[in-house]
């Protein structure tokens, strides 16, 4: 599946069975399983096995599968990759990639863990200034990065800096994505109660140049499909 066709999916924690089951059965084109931010450290070991078995159980769902994992340069990331080796995963979402050396080491690990015709692409999360400043060099070094995503953590870091505006940073990331022929995804909007506000944010996001975003609640799906895909 061309990554550009998959503009959004449901974002779910990898340690909660009921949410995984609902997400795999939901009518979204993709699913993003989080093994980083939403999973407590003490549940990570068991969550890896849950995700592995879920991938096998729901392999016929034909969803675009993305998994957010710790950087493979950490022991958590390495253990996750070891367990998920050769599973059918379309995208590995990775943050804390701050230099071309980082991406090279990570790609080596991925390339030695998956068969060539089954290899996941990388969604690079721009979640700190270091990644942002080295973005072009990182992407030019990479052969697996297909997508750039903004994280709310970047906004927090920028709030401490007076000379960088978040919207300008977002535009810069979108321009780089366009230049490098990568998909650009906006950050998650956790507002699922006020859908008018969410809708306006999606409209602004699309206007800026983002091609989609992940959703965290079913109420957001229809709006995203309408705004980003025109469906």
């Amino acid at each position: 599946m061309n990554n550009r066709d998959v503009l959004q999916g449901i974002f779910v924690p990898g340690h909660i069975v009921s949410q995984l089951e609902i997400a795999f059965r939901m009518a979204t084109p993709g699913i993003m399983i989080d093994l980083v931010n939403l999973v407590p450290e003490e549940d990570l070991h068991a969550a890896r096995y849950l995700v592995k078995e879920a991938l096998n159980e729901f392999s016929s769902s034909h969803k675009h599968i993305s998994i957010f994992i710790h950087s493979p340069q950490t022991h958590q990331g390495k253990e996750t990759i070891t367990l998920l080796t050769d599973e059918k995963i379309d995208i590995l979402r990775l943050g804390q990639i701050n230099s071309p050396d980082h991406i090279q080491n990570i790609e080596y690990l991925i390339k030695t863990s998956w068969e060539k015709n089954n290899m996941p692409g990388i969604e690079l999360v721009v979640n700190n200034l270091s990644t942002f400043r080295n973005l072009e060099a990182i992407c030019n070094t990479s052969t697996l990065v297909t997508t750039l995503t903004i994280s709310g953590q970047l906004r927090e870091e920028l709030a401490k800096q007076s000379d960088l505006d978040f919207d300008k940073v977002k535009k810069s990331i979108i321009e780089q994505a366009q230049r490098l022929k990568l998909t650009a995804l906006d950050s998650i909007n956790t507002n699922y109660r006020n859908l008018d506000t969410f809708r306006q944010d999606c409209i602004n996001s699309k206007h800026m140049g983002f091609q989609g975003r992940y959703v965290i609640h079913p109420s957001q799906i229809k709006i995203c499909m309408e705004i980003y895909k025109g469906v």
């Binding site: 069975v17 070991h45 096995y49 078995e53």
Partner: protein, 83 residues
């Protein structure tokens, strides 16, 4: 005494507790619409197939499907082996 817990009591899940001082398999079926006997047979068979020491386990079944029981069982096996 070594105690290890994997899983949860949330809906559609299973909680497996390993206690190396326990000498008999125990099961609590939290889903009353399914017969206790049936749950016990399915759960014991799956966990035994994975090589888990049933006598040291207490299981709280909350409606988990087989893939979940397998996932929780494999995670428990790893932890028992000290990985």
């Amino acid at each position: 005494m070594k105690i290890i817990k994997v899983g949860s009591m949330q809906s559609n899940d299973i909680l497996i507790v390993f206690n190396d001082t326990q000498e008999k398999f125990g099961l609590e079926n939290m889903v009353k619409v399914i017969e206790d006997q049936l749950v016990s047979e399915v759960v014991k068979t799956l966990l035994d197939k994975l090589g888990l020491p049933l006598q040291h386990l207490k299981v709280y079944f909350c409606g988990a499907n087989e893939w979940v029981i397998k996932a929780r069982g494999l995670a428990m096996l790893d932890l028992i082996k000290g990985k």
